[in-house]
Structures are given as C-alpha cells and as structure tokens.
C-alpha cells in the first residue's frame, strides 16, 4: 500500500476497527472440492443485481410512466439519449442473466443440500429473494407498454384471478381496476422501482449476514473427513479475487449481448388489437405457460387453470420447504428423495421450456 492509502486506512482503523473485520474474513475459509464452481453463482447474482440498480436508476432519469408516455419515453431513450439504447439493453439483458444466475445458485444449493441445518433461514431468505426477482422481471416487463408485455400482463394477472375467493380481489389489486390499463402500469412502476428494491435490499442484507456468520457449507461427502484433510482457501483475499475476476467476465458477456443483440422495443400496446401470433412470456415463465396449454378446460371437477395453479403452488411450496421435510441430510445421511424430486423438477422445467421455445 502506498503511503497515502495506508494513512487513510490507519485513520479509519483507529476509529472503526477495520482490522477486526479483515481478520474475520481472513479466518473464513471456502472449501475447495470438485463442486466448488457453484459457490460463485451467488456472487454473480449479487453483481447482476448491482448492475440492475445502477442501470435502473439511470433509466429512471428519462422513463415516464403512463399509457401515452411510457412507450414514447423508451423510444426517446433508445433514439435520442446518448447511450440510451445501451443502458436499456444492459438493463434488459442483465435482468435475464440475473434470473439465470439466481436459478443456477438455487439449484446448486438444493443439490448440495447446503440448506440443511444450520442454514435453513439462509435458504428461506434466498427463496424469498428468488420470488421477488421473478416479480421484478414480471413488473419490469410491462414498463415499456408494448404489445407483448400488454398481453403477457393480461394473462399473468388473469391467472391470479382464477384462485377461488381471494382471486377476484387480488386481480383488482394487481391491475388497479378491472382491466390492464394505465392504472396497472402505475402500480407496476411503483412496485418495480420502489417497493421491490427496498424489500430485496433488506432480504439481501440478511442473507449475506447469515452467510458471513456461518461460512460456506461443506458437502455431505466430505463431512467424515478430518478438519485438516479438507482443502480450503481463505475467503479474503483468495476467494474474493476469484469472485471479482468472474464478475469481470460476466460484465464482458453482458456487454457483448447488449451491444450485438440490442433489446427490441416492439409495437406499442393497443387494447383494440388482437393478441399477435407467436406471443410468449419471458423464458423463465415459459414452462408454466406451456403447461397451461396442455391442461384441458376441466380436470376432474375443477377448472383446468385452477388445477394447474394448485400443482405449481404445491410444487413451489414443497421446494421452498425442503429444509423442513428433509431431516436426513441434517443428520448427515443421504436422502435420495431430495435428489429424485429435484431431478424431476429440473427435467420438467427444462423440457417444457424447450418445447415452449420451439412450438
């Protein structure tokens, strides 16, 4: 360290005991084994979220909500504002990569059983963040007020309306009225730029705090090893530097995607135009969308949609509650049910996403 920075450091350390925090991070170790790559995806999700906050705030400087302004303001951003097309393209691409990274992170934690005691709450906060992330995507998608987004929102909110008793009030609540209108856009906008960032930031803080306190979990197959037999590296600086290198790589991928495949705007939403052929939701909702196409109007004595929602709800609940029902892993035993249930879900999601993509 040069003289100036070391003097700044000393000045700070004297007052805030920075060295305690650094010592703590140096004593924290990350296990090294053949599945170690998966440890990086939480960090990648974090990085992409930071990018969303920065580009999102930049978009806010020009974006206008409202039926007759939203589409026009994005058109303005893309055609008049310097680098506006780039900022918007990065925000859209990073949104998708964020969901992808968060998904990979979630599946790896699941298959590694890293949710087992004592990390149940880390898993629950992570799952909540994942759902908030999907809501981020769903609400942001409407903001450009284009045709695709308009119909995706109509369908998405109408699905909520299928649920008995609470469905109808929920539909009104989500849409801000009976139909998808400017009122819906205002609500989604408030949700997207104020409510969700606040909620997400709190959850993220708690999640990271838990991870820092407990450290990384060791895979089950290494649990019988003696302490000195487990290969590991210090969190600081070794792991952090690797993390940063990967962030740089992700930033490059993002830049390539955003520049060479600029995000399209499409046509402005018009409530008096039919839904265009080939309409599809974002890829992360595609498997549910595709499943709905196969469910007949009625299953047994209930509505087909309701049946679908119940099935997805049940699956999601089981998935989220895995630290509760998987007692074996907490005791260090292998639990095949977890693997089979996880594989079933992964195969189901991948198959239906591909089918939905192709047809």
């Amino acid at each position: 360290m040069n003289k100036f920075s070391s003097r700044v450091y000393q000045w700070m350390d004297e007052r805030f005991h920075l060295s305690d925090a650094i010592d703590f991070m140096k004593k924290k170790y990350v296990p090294v084994h053949r599945h170690s790559v998966w440890y990086y995806f939480g960090g990648v999700s974090l990085f992409l979220f930071i990018i969303q906050v920065v580009t999102g705030i930049l978009l806010l400087m020009y974006y206008k909500s409202g039926e007759d302004q939203a589409f026009e303001s994005i058109h303005f951003i893309m055609s008049k504002v310097q680098f506006g097309w780039l900022i918007r393209s990065i925000h859209s691409w990073a949104a998708n990569l964020f969901i992808l990274a968060a998904m990979i992170h979630m599946f790896s934690v699941y298959f590694e059983r890293a949710y087992r005691k004592p990390r149940e709450l880390t898993w629950f906060t992570g799952m909540l963040m994942f759902f908030v992330g999907l809501t981020f995507g769903f609400s942001g998608y409407l903001l450009p007020w284009n045709e695709l987004a308009y119909f995706a929102t109509k369908v998405g909110t109408d699905i909520a309306g299928v649920i008995p008793i609470i469905g109808e009030p929920m539909l009104y609540f989500l849409r801000g009225g009976e139909d998808v209108t400017g009122a819906t856009l205002s609500r989604f906008f408030g949700l997207h730029v104020a409510v969700l960032p606040a909620v997400f930031t709190v959850l993220l803080g708690v999640h990271l705090l838990f991870v820092q306190i407990q450290g990384m979990s060791t895979p089950l197959h290494m649990q019988h090893l003696e302490e000195h037999e487990i290969k590991k590296m210090p969190f600081f600086p070794n792991f952090v530097l690797r993390d940063l290198l990967l962030w740089l790589i992700v930033l490059n991928i993002l830049a390539i995607l955003a520049v060479y495949f600029p995000w399209e705007l499409g046509r402005k939403a018009d409530p008096f135009m039919p839904a265009p052929a080939g309409i599809k939701p974002e890829w992360y909702f595609l498997f549910m969308f595709q499943t709905l196409k196969y469910i007949p109007g009625h299953v047994l004595f209930i509505d087909g949609e309701l049946f679908g929602i119940l099935m997805f709800g049940l699956g999601g609940l089981l998935w989220t509650m895995v630290p509760i029902w998987d007692r074996k892993s907490a005791e260090g035993k292998r639990n095949k049910t977890v693997t089979y249930f996880g594989l079933l879900i992964v195969i189901f999601i991948i198959t239906l996403t591909i089918v939905g993509w192709l047809v």
Partner: protein, 150 residues
Amino acid sequence: MVEHPARETQKDKRDFLKLILVGSSFAWLASIIYPVISYLKPPKQSEVVVKSVKAGKISDFANDSGTIIKFGSKPVLLIRNANGEFKAFSATCTHLDCTVQYRNDFGLIWCACHNGKYDLNGRNVSGPPPRPLEAFVVTLQGDDILIHKS
C-alpha cells in the same frame, strides 16, 4: 404448598398488563394496516354504460374478414362471413383475457395466447377456453352497422 396471596395478585396484575399491551399493539397495527389496504383497493369508477355502437358502413367490411370495434372500453369482434352476413362477439377470450381474432385461413375465431379456437357461432371448439364468447347483436340501419349488447 403455601399460598402467597400477595404474589398471586401480582401475577394477575402482570397478566392483565400483558393482555393490555398485546391487545393495544394489535389495535395499533390494525389502525395502520387497514387504511393502507383500503388505499390500495382501486376505487370503483362509474363508467359510461355503452349499450350500442355504430361500427361503420357495410362497404367498410370485406366478406370473410374480422375487425375489432371499440365497445366502450371493451373490444368486440365484428365478423363478416363469406356470405356477407355480420356477427359480433366479445373479443375477450374466455380463457385468460387475451384478445381474439378472426382467421379466414381456419374459418375460425382464434386466440394467439394459448391457441384457443371458437367457431363462427362463438362456441369454444378447441384449446383451453372453457366457455363460448359472449355474443352481441348486429343490426343494419340502412347502410350503417349497429352493434348492441344482447
């Protein structure tokens, strides 16, 4: 066991205070949550009730075609079939609220969202739609086409 009347009344007192504390916390919470939830419920707006609209002139519509007409704030699909007869249905799919269109290559009403199909009487014939489309009445007044709610 020796009775401690003084301690008993103390415990009663403490329980009572606890009850008050918990009760008032809930009342306090409710007094915040209730207005917020009510605020988020969109107010009912009295819409102008549209009973009928003029869709245009007969000559505006080609045989074997469909057009979406504004019926107040709702879309209505006006179809002129191959024989030149007019029919009108609500254009809102009974499945999940998308807007349907007339496909003359199928000779059917089609919903792009989940590939739902209705015949030219508005009956759901294939795909996920659970109910027929709501029918509207078409009348001709000279050269003008009028659409009414049935």
